[in-house]
């Protein structure tokens, strides 16, 4: 299954400046592992020591925050777009 991942600027140093990546993965957790396999060291940046996504990172599947889905266990299917976005303040 091909999942399209949008890589934020701060992480593009791991991806040879590529802003997107296409990977195969069945869940968000699996996607993080797949990203790390292709771009070694990326998982350490995305997750804390316990493998949990860092609290200042938001992950969206097809524009939906995974905290409204099934968090890191959220299932992915062919053609899904996953966006990794550092938290921002606003107003």
């Amino acid at each position: 299954m091909a999942i399209q991942v949008l890589i934020p600027t701060p992480l593009q140093k791991f991806t040879n400046d590529e802003a997107t990546a296409s990977l195969e993965a069945a869940s968000v957790d699996a996607l993080i592992d797949a990203l790390d396999a292709r771009y070694p060291g990326l998982k350490d940046r995305l997750c804390d020591e316990g493998g949990k996504l860092r609290r200042f990172l938001n992950v969206y599947v097809n524009s939906e925050d995974i905290r409204f889905l099934d968090n890191q266990q959220t299932l992915l299917s062919d053609g899904d777009e996953v966006s990794i976005v550092p938290a921002v303040a606003g107003g």
Partner: protein, 452 residues
């Protein structure tokens, strides 16, 4: 001198319009960040608020080398202490730039008269609520676009210009779009702003009039913000609340400084402020802390209480549950200017409320409308829904015994009601339409008397 006397004097006096600097000193305000005792920038770089990792003072907002925590500006407080006193501040312009040594800019600011808004002694509202010393900090009359956002945008666009950006942008619930578009127009910067497509008409018109490019996104604010993060990644623009956020958010500290100065160089006992992302709340605290640190005000305990709308209350829910993390929500409230379902600074706001013995509470949309009306009827201040939320929560906290009647309390009003007339249109009276004849007036007046 009592606080009200001091306030009356301060409020009516006109201040010099600008600090006059010798031209040679102005030339010294150059791109270098090296501090000298009397001139030049007082900030030295950025630092992660979570892990402390240092960064240069560029256009970045997250700790990209370690933990993705938010970045904060680092200041040389010894340099600030050496050059600032109550007298130097009082001699400054009647705007946020009287505090420029506490703000992260290198050269001349974009000064559109932002800041130094009235601090009203709200005796009528105090009496109604059972308080003795209540003040309203009224940023509904801030310049140029009638909300506190003019403070943060003035700082962000000054810094954007210094960093070489020619196009500026933001994700906004309305007020920020107004302010970014207006101040960009004044500064001659290109501007493209993003808002949710369901905003109040006043906020849409109040942006378009400055002729920016306005993108109305079919989605809520959190979705707009996500889109803007992706645009910021690829377009190289200065987004005030994204890659310029460390500088932008510092502008809110001036709401802390001004209250101290307007109270006669004293801290209040309790503040109540609206919570959207939580940034304003944390920066008022930082403003108080900095004035204490450099010796401009005596330290004392100040309680911090926050206000949310029930239809978007992720911070209030976490506070009530004793959590230190935020579970995002999908907003559904008339208080659109504070409808942020995924508040980035929420954990910091909870920490401040807990550490200071304050509270965070939420009120329903009906209470928000009543809050707007109560402030207008008692104090002559017409605020928007965020201000209605603040007043309604103030009332709720007083009734719950969480604000002591003797506390000097400041309620922060952050926006103007003329931008959100839809919120109250069905909840206020209608005019008596009469003929231009005395008899017609007399008949109508009898009706008025009968109804009272």
């Amino acid at each position: 001198m009592s606080i009200p006397d001091f306030h009356d004097r301060l409020y009516t006096r006109r201040l010099p319009s600008a600090v006059s600097l010798l031209p040679v000193l102005e030339k010294l305000l150059t791109a270098t960040l090296a501090c000298s005792p009397t001139t030049g920038p007082t900030f030295t770089g950025l630092r992660c608020k979570e892990c402390g990792h240092p960064y240069e003072a560029g256009a970045r907002h997250v700790c990209e080398d370690v933990c993705f925590g938010p970045l904060e500006v680092v200041y040389d407080y010894e340099a600030i202490r050496a050059r600032v006193s109550r007298a130097t501040i009082e001699a400054g312009p009647a705007s946020i730039w009287r505090y420029r040594d506490f703000l992260p800019i290198q050269g001349d600011p974009i000064d559109v008269g932002t800041g130094f808004t009235p601090l009203l002694k709200a005796n009528n509202l105090a009496r109604r609520l059972g308080l003795k010393n209540l003040f309203i900090k009224n940023d509904g009359v801030n310049m140029p676009t009638l909300s506190f956002k003019d403070r943060v945008v003035s700082v962000a666009l000054t810094r954007a210009r210094e960093l070489g950006f020619t196009t500026v942008s933001c994700a906004s619930t309305g007020n920020l779009a107004n302010s970014t578009a207006a101040i960009a127009a004044h500064a001659g910067l290109e501007c493209c702003v993003f808002i949710p497509s369901d905003l109040e008409l006043g906020k849409v018109l109040g942006t378009l009039i400055y002729n920016p490019t306005l993108m109305a996104v079919k989605g809520n604010y959190d979705q707009v913000n996500r889109l803007c993060s992706e645009v910021a990644n690829t377009f190289g623009w200065g987004f005030v609340n994204i890659n310029l956020r460390p500088y932008y958010s510092e502008g809110s500290k001036t709401l802390g400084y001004e209250v101290i100065e307007q109270l006669g160089w004293q801290l209040p006992d309790h503040i109540v402020a609206p919570l959207a992302s939580g940034s304003l709340f944390t920066k008022i605290r930082k403003g108080f802390d900095e004035f204490i640190k450099v010796g401009l005000v005596d330290d004392k305990a100040v309680r911090f209480s926050g206000a949310q709308a029930e239809g978007c209350s992720p911070i209030a829910q976490a506070f009530a549950a004793g959590r230190d993390f935020i579970t995002p929500v999908k907003p559904n409230t008339i208080a659109k200017s504070i409808a942020i379902g995924n508040p980035a600074d929420g954990p910091y706001a909870i920490d401040i409320a807990n550490r200071t013995g304050g509270s965070i509470a939420a009120v329903g949309d009906g209470d928000i409308v009543e809050g707007i009306k109560l402030l207008a009827e008692t104090e002559g201040v017409f605020t928007e829904t965020a201000g209605g939320t603040t007043i309604a929560v103030l009332k709720k906290l007083v009734e719950a015994g969480k604000i002591d009647s003797n506390e000097t309390t400041v309620a922060y009003i952050t926006g103007n009601g003329l931008k959100t007339t839809e919120a109250v249109a069905d909840a206020i009276g209608a005019p008596y339409t009469i003929e231009a004849q005395l008899d017609s007036f007399k008949a109508a007046w009898q009706q008025v008397q009968a109804q009272h």
